[in-house]
Symmetry: C2
Subunit: 343 residues, 2 copies
């Protein structure tokens, strides 16, 4: 397509390829008059050093990979979309590109990341969605592939990569205390099956606040476990209401939305007195006027990008301490009426 190259410039000027290269990289080696002539020709041609040539010389691609996930119900994906947009901006400001990848599962992601690294297509990667028994950070570390994670190494304290996470337990504890202060005694947790790091963490916050306020109450009656979906939210809220719950803490906006749907249908006149809070402060939550916990995604991205670039520049350097950021509890009133069509 007519992009000028070192070779085409050299030919045009009647000098060697090496001379053009020297003018760019070691100008002191070139006679002043030749240097000036070649420089002018380079400027006039619009020549830019080829990125692949630079990558080859430096043995660096200037690219970081990150998996993107499909948005299942349109609620969950929202945080990671904000994450990606910010990541691309922050990385570009530091002259790095982001290569998004899609994967069937964690193992597929891991295989792709290793293959991309082996080919020199990426210099490192960011992981999100860390879970208990997550093999990804360990395998990447063994392969000496630079990695940082948005999410803690749940239950795996030996891992020594840099991570940033959001204090889910702190946020759900604060929301629970808020509901307690408003006079609610039976506060249900519309939970996710045990085993997901963030789901368990967010349950822990609710448990701690409840146990502190009501040390002798059996919490298991107020706790449910299911897949993270609107449907689970509907059925869990129904169960919890039957057991006397009047307020609901949820580790996701999908679950919170489902809980709201049930309350609206079951208590059309009084559902506004039964608060529900979700997690992620998704566009759906904001549009509905639904209470939720927001994550400081921009700060998380900033810290992760700084850390991985520092690692790439100095692989032997000391890793900074991982960071646990605070979530922001946003209570919205009145609780949103939602469509019976959803149930």
């Amino acid at each position: 397509m007519g992009r000028p190259t070192l070779v085409s410039l050299a030919k045009e000027l009647g000098v060697s390829r090496q001379t053009v290269s020297n003018v760019l990289n070691s100008p002191h080696l070139v006679k002043p008059e030749t240097r000036d002539r070649v420089r002018k020709a380079i400027e006039a041609s619009g020549y830019r050093p080829n990125q692949a040539a630079q990558a080859l010389r430096k043995q660096k691609s200037g690219t970081l990979a990150m998996r993107i996930y499909p948005s299942s119900d349109g609620i969950y994906g929202a945080v990671m979309d904000r994450f990606l947009h910010r990541l691309v901006s922050e990385a570009r400001a530091r002259s790095y590109n982001i290569m998004p990848i899609t994967a069937i599962d964690d193992r597929d992601e891991l295989q792709q990341l290793c293959a991309l690294y082996d080919k020199g297509s990426i210099d490192g990667c960011l992981l999100s969605g860390t879970s208990e028994h997550d093999e990804r950070p360990r395998v990447l570390a063994q392969r000496q592939i630079p990695v940082v994670t948005f999410g803690r190494p749940w239950g795996d304290d030996e891992l020594s990569h840099y991570w940033v996470d959001v204090d889910g337990a702190g946020a759900t504890a604060a929301a629970t205390r808020d509901f307690l202060a408003r006079g609610h005694e039976r506060i249900g947790f519309v939970g996710i099956e045990a085993g997901s790091g963030p789901g368990d963490d967010r349950r822990r916050g609710w448990q701690e606040a409840m146990t502190q306020a009501q040390p002798h109450v059996d919490l298991s009656q107020m706790d449910t476990h299911g897949v993270d979906s609107i449907e689970t939210g509907v059925s869990a809220a129904r169960e919890l209401v039957a057991r006397g719950a009047t307020a609901f803490v949820c580790p996701s906006d999908s679950l919170a939305f489902g809980a709201l749907v049930h309350l609206r249908n079951a208590f059309p006149d009084s559902y506004q007195t039964m608060p529900v809070i979700g997690f992620d402060d998704s566009p759906v939550a904001r549009a509905l006027g639904m209470s939720s916990v927001g994550q400081p995604v921009e700060m998380a991205v900033h810290l992760l990008v700084e850390a991985i670039i520092a690692q790439l520049k100095d692989p032997e350097g000391t890793l900074p301490e991982p960071v646990l950021l605070q979530g922001s509890v946003t209570m919205r009133e009145p609780v949103m009426p939602v469509s019976p069509a959803q149930e």
Copy 2:
């Protein structure tokens, strides 16, 4: 980081770098015993050809750029998030990578795309959000940078790049006819300021269906223009109701959501009889049970990826005909009650 290279392999085996390269690329030039020994060493080492070296040899990066947009109210961005996820998958299946970029405006995007192309970082690009007087496709074509667009070259018929778009006018006309068939006579259009290609196109469909049904009615009373936001939807619906509108066609889900908020507040007992339809079938629309027009994003991505790869493989080849895909009108009942807190 210890990635094996041609040089390290050659050193280890006591042969020249050229010999290792020949074993990989021109094995007939190498003596059989050397060939076998080198091949075994290559396999044992886990060597993969460096992507930058291949890119340099082929003068191709295997990468396509596309701008991603921030989600303003969390509604608009949803289609493009689905688009990106699908794009990354489709491109990967064809051995291409996607490089997302962020930009302040169209001009910034254009400058970045040209710079990336000049450096050999990308082989081509995808544009979305085409508008009237869009300079991007024209400048890219002049620079001979391969480009395809999701969106028509609005009002610029001389442009000859490949595009895929969704027939907005066809979808809003179908929705308008549906409302007419249900007995609504005064159907308002909660519109976007003139000048945006898709906004005007979607208005045209409403106009055509209305003019066909009521040839002598002045439509301007039923037409509003504003920025694409929830707030505009609220105020436009208020105005249109004052002029007698009982049904509302909107070129976005943000506007439709705003219209629903107003109707819910103004007519708590009868708003369900006043249908509203949005555009994009966003997660918010699905969560609210709001009627909307869905876009066949997956098919659009597939066609665009096929077309740009064909162009890259054969720059002189004939471009396929651009494609206008049909949107899918999804009517949902009952219309979702929405929170007074939004108004």
